[in-house]
Structure formats: structure tokens, C-alpha cells
Amino acid sequence: MDDRIRGQTKTAYQNTPRRDRELIRRIQAGNKELLGELIGYYYDEILRFCIWQIRDTGDAYDLTQETFYRFIRSVDTYEYRNLRAYLYAIARNLCVDYQREEKPVPVSGEQEELDPAHGGTESGYAQAEESLFLAGLLDALPAEQREIILLKYYGCLKLAEIARILDVNLSTVKSRLRLGLKRMRAVCGEEEDRRGQKAGQKKGETA
């Protein structure tokens, strides 16, 4: 199992339905050990989705584990259609249940948790900053817009698939997406203004 853990960081974002279909076929034909391989492909991606969505890193690990647990238990009845969307659906539902328990959303300060090991390099630093920036944008959104933003831009799922996952119609997805983007841009604008001011101040100081 360990080698699988190490090898799978890059493939997470590649959409490989053919590989999925083949794996599911073989698993359902009786080779259930292949489930481990499948989970190896998707673990990181689902984990990060949960972290983005519920904004609590610790609990995100639990939710991810539960997602794959449920997947294993239901693989016998699963009819292959779109495996990624299916996994996201399970994860998303778990996130919804989790958030319904009204855990407080972590305040900006705790966002440091999001990317502890960005390395000392400049690109690493920039990446970390971007992650924090994104986190800030997502924080400003209500959960139902956030999940659509994540499913579309992080999960790269089509709107029709998202509609099916959320069990709402396409127009609802589109309107929530639009509102979410609008809100994010507004926050973006504020942030830029704020940074502009800061930069102005700094300039003022150094001058």
C-alpha cells in the first residue's frame, strides 16, 4: 500500500474514465483488492475537496475516510457511470451532514493550517499565498455556492453532473454558480483595494 501512497500525487487531477471503467469492471468481476488501487488514485483529490469545503483539516480526514468506506460498501450495487462524480457525491453529502451540525467556520487566522509545508522556495511561497487567498475567497461564500465552485473548478465536473450530484436542476446550479462567482469577484476587488492601500502605505513609509 505504501508505494501506492507515494506515487499518486500527480494523477489526481487527470480524468481517466477508461481506467476507472476497467478497474470497476475488474473489481465487480471479483478482484476486490483493486479497490485499494482505486482509492489510491482518488484519495488526495477527495481529501482536498473536503478540506476546501468544510475548512477544518482534521475532520476532513475523517470525512474522506468515511467517503471511501461508503464507496467500498456500495461497490457491489454501483453501476458504472462516472466514478469521480460518484465519489464527489458521497463526499459532498458527508460535508453537508457535517456542516449541518453547525460547527463554527474557522476564522482567517486558522487558515495557516491549510498549507503547512509549502517549502522555502519562492514558488512554494507563492503557492501558499495563493492557497490562502483562495481560502479567503471561499470563506466569503455560503456553503451551497462554495460546493458548486469547488465541484466545478477543483473537481472539473460538468454542470450537468453537478446538478445530478446535488439533485437540483441545472438552472439552480447555474444561478448559484453565478452568484458565487460574483461574490468572489467582489471579495477579490476588496482584497485588491486593501492590498493597494497597504502597498501605498508601505511606499509611503519607505519613501
Partner: protein
């Protein structure tokens, strides 16, 4: 471990309502569905199998509608219909292989399962005989064998013991007990004694509605204080038969021993008795009829 839930399930045929607003949840264990002919048991079971689309309400498996799960749900299912159709010219073995093909079971797995099930149902020696030569009891056993082919997590049996002689019925009961408690088993019958020793849960249906639901002790408590035993003369017995619900009667020497379902003592010298499932069933049946009569 799965959970099968129905929510306000309703089915109408032209003018008649076969099933009305039935809601219950099934988990692992044996559940007996009691009802007279025409109560809607078969229709209910067909809806549970996804064969009939309900007019109202839903059937959910682990929270998902079975219509959405489609073939995936049917993989969990083992069904024995009341009128069990078969190909008369097929041998038992060929028929089971055919059913295995319909259930999309791979050949090696299917062959192993078929061997096991033929042994379990005592049909190993008859495997090559044509189905048209089988007795009713043997056919029913073939039916159960096919229902178990895919090791179903949800087993639905519609009147599996109807028309079987007592020996076959005992055999069936033993088979059922041997299946263990790790799956949902729903069996319908109008013969109460089938369920007495094996059911964990009882559902009672009348005219399409669920009239009682609970474990056997709970159901029995419905009939508490309404079961009486008394010993009367034959003449009194004839009178009592007209006016009361008789659970059992037995001629004994110079009189008749009667077991009666009644709110008040039906005759002098009647003693209360411990209710059995049959009594509770008669009580519930009678209650419904009385209520209707009152309206």
C-alpha cells in the same frame, strides 16, 4: 447490512386500491407479512422488487430510490414469486444456469453456487430431470434455489409455503433458519404457523393497509386479555360459533374445548389464556371487520 424502507407506498388498479399508504423499514432478520388473500401482499412485494411502479410513495434501499439504483438494486435481490414460472423442458440444472445467466453471475461462481444450493434444497439427485416431472414441493425448492443464487442481501418470498405438504413446510422452515440473520428476509403468507418460530418481525396487512407492525412479543401484547379457553357442551359450542371468533376447537369426551377471541369472557368458566400469534392475528382481523361494520 442494508435497510429497505417504504414511504407511503400506494398502488391502484383501475377502481381498486391494492396498496394504500404502507410505510415500514426492514433490516436484517426474518420479517413475516401476514394477510389474507387479496390483502395486497403480492402487489406490495412486486413494488419492493421494482416490478411495479408505485402510484404514490417510494421504496428506498439505504436511502436511495430503487428506481434510481436500477440493476444495482436487483443484484441484491432474490425473489420467489407466488406463481413461479419455469421452462418445463429444462432440467433443474439447466434452469438454474439460465437464472444465473439472467443474474449476470460468472460461470465458475454460478456453478459452485448451484452445487451448494442443490445440496441445500435436497435436489442434488434430481438435477438432470426435467422440471415438468417435478412435484409442487420440488418446484418450490427449485424456486428457492434460484432466489438464492446471487447470495442476496434482500430475499423476498411470496407465499413460499402455499400448497406444500407439512413435511415440505418443515423443510422450508429449517432452510430459512439456516440462512442466518445476516440478510433481510421478507416472506408473505396467510398461514400463521409458518412464522411463529422464525420471524423476528411481523407485518399485518388488510385490504391494502398495514394494520400492525412489530416484533412477535409486541404483536402478542395486542391480544392480551382477549384470549379465553373454556369447556362447553356441544350445543353451547354451536351457539358460540355463531357469535364469537373461534381460534380453535376440539372435541373432548363429553364436551368441546374452545379457544375464543373476545373482549369479555364468552361463557361461564372461561379462563384467560396466553395468546399465540394466531390469536393476535385473528384479533386484529376481527377488529378491523368490526370497525367497518360499525361505520
Amino acid at each position: 447490512m442494508h435497510e429497505l424502507t417504504t414511504v407511503e407506498l400506494t398502488k391502484k388498479f383501475q377502481k381498486k386500491t391494492a396498496v394504500q399508504g404502507v410505510s415500514f423499514t426492514l433490516t436484517n432478520g426474518v420479517c413475516g407479512l401476514l394477510g389474507e388473500n387479496g390483502a395486497g401482499k403480492t402487489t406490495l412485494m412486486r413494488m419492493l422488487c421494482g416490478l411495479l411502479a408505485p402510484d404514490g410513495g417510494q421504496v428506498l434501499c439505504d436511502g436511495e430510490q430503487i428506481a434510481r439504483l436500477g440493476g444495482g438494486y436487483r443484484r441484491l435481490l432474490g425473489y420467489l414469486p407466488q406463481s413461479f414460472g419455469y421452462y418445463p423442458n429444462y432440467s433443474a440444472l439447466r434452469f438454474l444456469r439460465y437464472m444465473a445467466a439472467l443474474k449476470a453471475l460468472p460461470k465458475t461462481y454460478a456453478d459452485a453456487r448451484i452445487e451448494e444450493l442443490l445440496a441445500l434444497t435436497g435436489l442434488s439427485d434430481d438435477r438432470d430431470r426435467k422440471l415438468k416431472t417435478f412435484s409442487g414441493g420440488m418446484l418450490r425448492r427449485v424456486g428457492i434455489a434460484q432466489a438464492l443464487l446471487n447470495d442476496p442481501q434482500i430475499l423476498i418470498l411470496d407465499e413460499p409455503t402455499a400448497g406444500l405438504d407439512p413435511k415440505e413446510r418443515v423443510r422450508f422452515r429449517n432452510l430459512l433458519s439456516s440462512l442466518g440473520r445476516n440478510r433481510i428476509i421478507l416472506l408473505s403468507t396467510h398461514i400463521v404457523s409458518d412464522l411463529e418460530s422464525i420471524a423476528d418481525h411481523i407485518l399485518m396487512m388488510q385490504k391494502g393497509c398495514l394494520t400492525a407492525s412489530g416484533s412477535i412479543p409486541e404483536i402478542l401484547s395486542v391480544g392480551k386479555g382477549y384470549v379465553w379457553e373454556c369447556r362447553v357442551s356441544e350445543r353451547e359450542a354451536a351457539e358460540l360459533e355463531q357469535t364469537h371468533v373461534i381460534a380453535n376447537l376440539r372435541s373432548q369426551g363429553d364436551g368441546v374445548c374452545m379457544r375464543i377471541i373476545s373482549r369479555e369472557p364468552p361463557a361461564t368458566g372461561a379462563v384467560p389464556a396466553e395468546p399465540a400469534l394466531e390469536d393476535a392475528w385473528l384479533y386484529v382481523l376481527n377488529n378491523e371487520q368490526n370497525e367497518e361494520g360499525g361505520d
